[in-house]
């Protein structure tokens, strides 16, 4: 009887203790593992640019190229590449050239938004927009990106998320799936 009472008391205590929302633990892996196909060489890359493949696919390839150099976050020494104002993450020369070709092609097609902002390094525009902001009480910090580039970035971030999720699943299976 005393045991019953004790058991009941324990259950009541556990039931009414303040609780936090329990969800499955999401563990995070360490370094990102590249699951992409092998990095194409520069010749293949240039050949692909000659074709009319969507910019999205080329951004995806270039993204995986950059994953191989993920620790190089420094600017290239030359500042002549105007596209480096957008992607100055230490991209290899082939990547810069590929991006220049893409942007030039899109410029000729008239699909890129504000070219001046993209290629001028935003400094003056940043100041202008800051001044406009003060006048209109709106901070007005903004970035001129086309939707096409935004979509490309979304695709790359999604791929990174899926790769990380796959790695976490593998870790969880190794630890607790046996």
């Amino acid at each position: 009887m005393k045991l019953n009472l004790f058991g009941t008391t324990v259950i009541l205590l556990v039931a009414f203790l303040p609780r936090h929302e329990c969800r499955a633990v999401d563990s995070r892996g360490g370094a990102l593992r590249v699951l992409a196909p092998q990095t194409p060489n520069s010749q293949q890359q240039q050949q692909q640019q000659q074709q009319s493949a969507p910019i999205l696919e080329r951004l995806g390839e270039e993204y995986f190229v950059r994953l191989g150099n993920e620790d190089s976050n420094s600017l290239p020494s030359s500042s002549s590449s105007s596209s480096s104002s957008m992607y100055p993450g230490g991209a290899p020369a082939t990547y810069n050239r590929a991006l220049q070709l893409q942007l030039t092609r899109r410029l000729l097609q008239g699909k890129v938004g504000n070219i001046r902002a993209l290629f001028s390094g935003f400094d003056d525009r940043g100041d202008e927009s800051m001044e406009r902001g003060r006048r209109s009480e709106d901070p007005a910090i903004s970035l001129d990106l086309t939707f096409h580039l935004l979509r490309g970035m979304m695709e790359m971030s999604r791929a990174e998320q899926l790769a990380e999720q796959a790695k976490n699943n593998e870790i969880l299976m190794e630890r607790y799936g046996k």
């Binding site: 009941t8 633990v25 957008m86």
Partner: protein, 329 residues
């Protein structure tokens, strides 16, 4: 003996009652905790979902970056970087918090790190000023402002971004990105060009937008106002004398355009009568938005699917349309 039986039965009844109370929360006492300290985990208030230090995802932050994972992202540079931005994105039912750590910048020299609650592209904001609960100036938090909160505040929707400008080589900072569940999502940007979504506004006077920055075919399968589908004879439902939704305070809009700001998009169509049944539309716009306007008197709900239009469909739509604005069919 009978007294003992009655007492035992009473305790047994109490035990069964407790077990039935725990039915929905039994996971709390189930030993599904994977931490080492299993015995004491039941009695600690520490959140079980804190990620161990060694398992946090880390990588360098780029000057132009988009991040959809939790983790720590460190920006360092050997050259001045004057126009940088990092976009953050989560699932529509999540919000994002961004913490700044190990900040080594020169605020007095013109450096800044500004967190924005939403996205800004080409001067257009998502969510728009009409749909966001905060005024615009409160959506920007500059780290270099003396009164800026050092503790992170979660975003109001599944997107956020950080603008930063670094003049000096060797300056650095670290962003810690975390996602949190949003039980009542309102504004969201879709991560992918295909999917399905249900927007619910639980009797709140607010407007909510779901933005798909792709040309899509959208299929609205259900729209309801109130706790159940109304018919037009319901006295509580406003009677309209004019066609369209101009007189109503609760309706759903399908918007399309080329920008991010939903207040600058064109209305393709709107719905203000509850219905169940597929409504297909092909919208060849850069940005397709489903927006609910709610007075707060009803529980508004709309369910829709969407898929990306291929190039042939886009071409067909363009050829079939006379109007110049981003084509719909």
């Amino acid at each position: 003996m009978r007294v003992m039986e009655r007492t035992f039965r009473g305790q047994l009844f109490l035990l069964v009652l407790c077990l039935s109370v725990l039915k929905g929360n039994s996971r709390y006492i189930e030993n599904n905790d994977i931490s080492r300290d299993e015995l004491f985990s039941l009695f600690t208030s520490q959140l079980k979902r804190e990620t161990p230090e060694e398992l946090i995802y880390r990588r360098p932050l780029r000057c132009l970056d988009m991040i959809a994972v939790e983790g720590q992202f460190t920006f360092t540079t050997a050259n001045p970087q004057l126009s940088c931005a990092a976009f953050f994105m989560a699932e529509p039912s999540e919000v994002i918090s961004v913490d700044l750590d190990n900040v080594d910048i020169d605020c007095s020299g013109g450096d800044f790190i500004t967190v924005f609650d939403g996205w800004v592209v080409k001067g257009e904001k998502f969510p728009s000023s009409h749909d966001h609960p905060l005024p615009v100036n409160e959506r920007y938090v500059n780290y270099c402002d003396t009164g800026a909160p050092r503790r992170s505040v979660p975003s109001s929707q599944n997107v956020a971004m950080v603008f930063f400008r670094i003049h000096n080589a060797g300056s650095s900072f670290t962003l810690t990105v975390k996602k949190h569940i949003n039980p009542f999502p309102c504004n969201a940007i879709s991560q992918s060009p295909e999917g399905s979504y249900t927007m619910v506004i639980p009797q709140q006077h607010r407007n909510c937008s779901f933005s798909i920055i792709y040309p899509v075919e959208i299929d609205i399968s259900e729209f309801s106002l109130g706790h159940s589908n109304h018919n037009n004879n319901d006295d509580n439902f406003p009677k309209r004398s004019l066609p369209g939704c101009t007189e109503t305070e609760d309706f759903v809009q399908l918007l399309g355009g080329r920008g991010l700001d939903t207040s600058k998009l064109l209305t393709i169509t709107d719905f203000c009568t509850s219905f169940t049944g597929a409504t297909h539309m092909k919208v060849g716009c850069d940005n397709t938005v489903v927006r609910i306007v709610s007075s707060g008197r009803f529980v508004s709900r709309v369910t829709f699917n969407y898929r990306l239009l291929d190039s042939q469909e886009l071409q067909t739509i363009k050829l079939n349309n006379v109007e110049d604005f981003c084509f719909n069919n």
